[in-house]
């Protein structure tokens, strides 16, 4: 965008490279340390591991309860995102397409939730889940995630649907299709790009969330990945080789998915928050 000369270009590339090194170093460190023995971590911090021993991984995988945690995180994130997409696309659709009483009021009411920190309401949420016998359950966590995801998803999908011409739906309506059929057969397929963005943003957010599992989940067999790592970090403090392996195991899969889908991520995340 700027017109920069040779010197300017060099400066830009040097600054960006330094920044990338700053980002890559911590990840590289845990990855390298995950193959070392504790002795090696202490004595030769800058050298590569003497052997690529995967023993740390085996031990961390077992003692951090990661298999269980991965399944829980996957179940909770997927079902929550599914719920958010179904409920929000329905709401967004009628707000975008139909005139009805309180339409704008309902929309504004939903929009207010965009920047409302749901964590502040954790005490009543805790008490209510307790009353519904949903405390310390994955279902309880999913219900909370769906409810707190509705604002953002509805907002983004409604705005996207506003941009889709209504003619196709009009002709289907004249042919006698019910609103439900039109929604399923015409509106949903056309909204797919927005749904991918909403799905991805929510999936990452829920996968990464720590606060709600910390409060709502108590049993080890229901914990999510961030919670499992947090407990492991407390129990195995100072066993840095195992902590490194556990951290690598929790970070690498997300990184791989990110590198594969970075186009959607970058479009989705920035789109979501600001525009």
């Amino acid at each position: 965008m700027l017109k920069v000369g040779k010197l300017g270009k060099w400066t830009i590339y040097i600054v960006l490279t330094i920044y990338v090194v700053l980002i890559a170093t911590p990840f590289t460190m845990i990855f390298i340390n995950s193959f070392k023995s504790l002795r090696e971590i202490f004595l030769s911090p800058f050298s590569l591991p003497s052997s690529f021993n995967i023993q740390n991984y085996v031990e961390a995988w077992k003692s951090a309860n990661l298999f269980n945690a991965y399944i829980n995180s996957f179940l909770i994130s997927t079902l929550s995102v599914g719920g958010i997409l179904v409920l929000s696309s329905m709401l967004a659709y009628v707000i975008s397409r139909y005139e009805f009483p309180f339409r704008r009021t309902i929309y504004l009411f939903i929009i207010v939730g965009l920047a409302l920190p749901a964590r502040l309401a954790i005490i009543p949420i805790y008490v209510m889940l307790d009353n519904f016998n949903l405390l310390d359950t994955r279902t309880g966590l999913i219900v909370v995630y769906i409810a707190t995801g509705i604002s953002f998803a509805t907002f983004l999908m409604k705005r996207f649907m506003d941009g889709i011409p209504k003619e196709i739906e009009e002709s289907a309506r004249i042919d006698g299709a019910s609103p439900w059929t039109i929604f399923l057969k015409i509106a949903i397929p056309l909204t797919r790009p927005a749904m991918i963005v909403v799905g991805l943003v929510n999936f990452v957010g829920i996968w990464n969330d720590f606060f709600f599992p910390l409060i709502i989940i108590n049993s080890r067999n229901k914990e999510t990945v961030p919670l499992a790592i947090s407990i492991f970090f407390g129990e195995f403090s100072n066993k840095w080789q195992l902590i490194s392996a556990a951290l690598s195991l929790s970070v690498l899969p997300i990184m791989i998915i990110f590198f594969l889908l970075s186009r959607y991520f970058i479009a989705g995340m920035t789109e979501g928050a600001i525009k």
């Binding site: 965008m1 700027l2 830009i12 590339y13 960006l16 980002i23 890559a24 170093t25 911590p26 990840f27 340390n33 911090p45 800058f46 409920l87 929000s88 709401l91 009628v94 139909y98 009805f100 309902i106 939903i110 929009i111 207010v112 939730g113 965009l114 920047a115 409302l116 920190p117 749901a118 502040l120 309401a121 954790i122 005490i123 009543p124 949420i125 008490v127 209510m128 219900v143 909370v144 707190t148 509705i150 604002s151 907002f155 609103p179 439900w180 990464n208 720590f210 606060f211 990945v225 961030p226 947090s230 902590i243 970070v251 990184m255 590198f259 970058i266 995340m269 920035t270 789109e271 928050a273």
Partner: protein, 300 residues
């Protein structure tokens, strides 16, 4: 007509019910709870404004003020660093062609990792015994700069903020990149033809035209700052040590409501009072944000 009404209810009610039950109602419920003393089980005792008195002026007063001031400090520093550096790096990114996608991807990478995991990774990096940060400093002869980054009460909050910036900066870079790319190229061309320097182009064109982005982001940052919890919890624990020097309202709220070892009085009523006070600070900005978002989407 009646069929349409039925459909509208069918489409609106599921989402709206869940939203009201688990988002709106809990906020109202918090207000009610804040007037009670309640350890979470058993009977509640109505105590009027006592919880607010305790939190603001009483036994919790100094702790609350301490955390609140940390939040304000956090907000100011994070805003300057993340928005300032984000804007600058975004200008760099849009001014190059080769490697642009690679840099975009790398810059954004830390943002997709859970804040709590980022905290644990950095608590290793900053560990006084095995931490790479001090080891590198010692190695290159700058050993005098080695510090107990997380253990020194005068440094700890700044360290926490630095880790926060490390993780989140990429997000702001990409938002500014998107907003810079919306600026019509002809404006820049015309300025260059008139002999404007890069500095002039940045200060007279790029900055004013991205000002709305600065505004929106600062509002969000203010709200998000009052949500800070994970990073402090990962680096310094629920006690926000050393000596509460990294305590923010998020960790204080957690301790008052859910105990978190060593809190003098874990109580849902007291916790709710803390939540209500944070809410009162944050709510006006949440409304401003909703207003901006609504106005913008109607103009689009």
């Amino acid at each position: 007509m009646s069929i349409k009404k039925k459909y509208i209810l069918l489409f609106v009610l599921p989402a709206l019910t869940l939203y009201v039950t688990f988002v709106i109602y809990p906020f109202i419920y918090s207000f009610i709870l804040s007037f009670y003393r309640w350890p979470g089980a058993g009977a509640r005792t109505f105590v009027g404004l006592q919880n607010f008195k305790d939190v603001l002026f009483g036994s919790f007063g100094s702790e609350f003020r301490n955390a609140f001031l940390h939040n304000i400090y956090y907000f100011i520093l994070v805003t300057i660093l993340e928005l300032g550096l984000g804007f600058l790096l975004a200008i760099f990114l849009v001014s190059i062609v080769k490697g642009k996608r690679f840099f975009q991807m790398m810059v954004y990478l830390p943002n997709i990792i859970s804040m709590i995991l980022v905290g644990f990774i950095w608590s290793m990096m900053l560990n006084p015994q095995i931490g790479l940060v001090n080891q590198i400093l010692n190695h290159i002869g700058l050993g005098v700069l080695a510090r107990p980054w997380l253990g020194d009460p005068n440094l700890a909050l700044n360290t926490v903020i630095a880790v926060n910036v490390w993780r989140n900066l990429g997000f702001y870079v990409l938002v500014f990149t998107a907003s810079l790319l919306d600026i019509p190229r002809e404006l820049l061309e015309a300025a260059y033809i008139d002999g404007a320097s890069n500095f002039k182009v940045i200060t007279k064109i790029l900055f004013p035209l991205t000002l709305p982005t600065f505004q929106t982001l600062s509002i969000l940052l203010f709200i998000w700052t009052f949500n800070v919890f994970d990073i402090v919890y990962a680096l310094e624990g629920a006690q926000a040590g050393p000596f509460r020097s990294t305590d923010v309202l998020g960790t204080l709220f957690y301790r008052t409501a859910f105990g978190g070892l060593g809190s003098s009085r874990a109580d849902f009523g007291l916790g709710a009072a803390v939540a209500v006070l944070i809410f009162v600070v944050v709510m006006p900005l949440s409304l401003v944000y909703a207003y901006i978002v609504d106005r913008r989407s109607r103009n689009a």
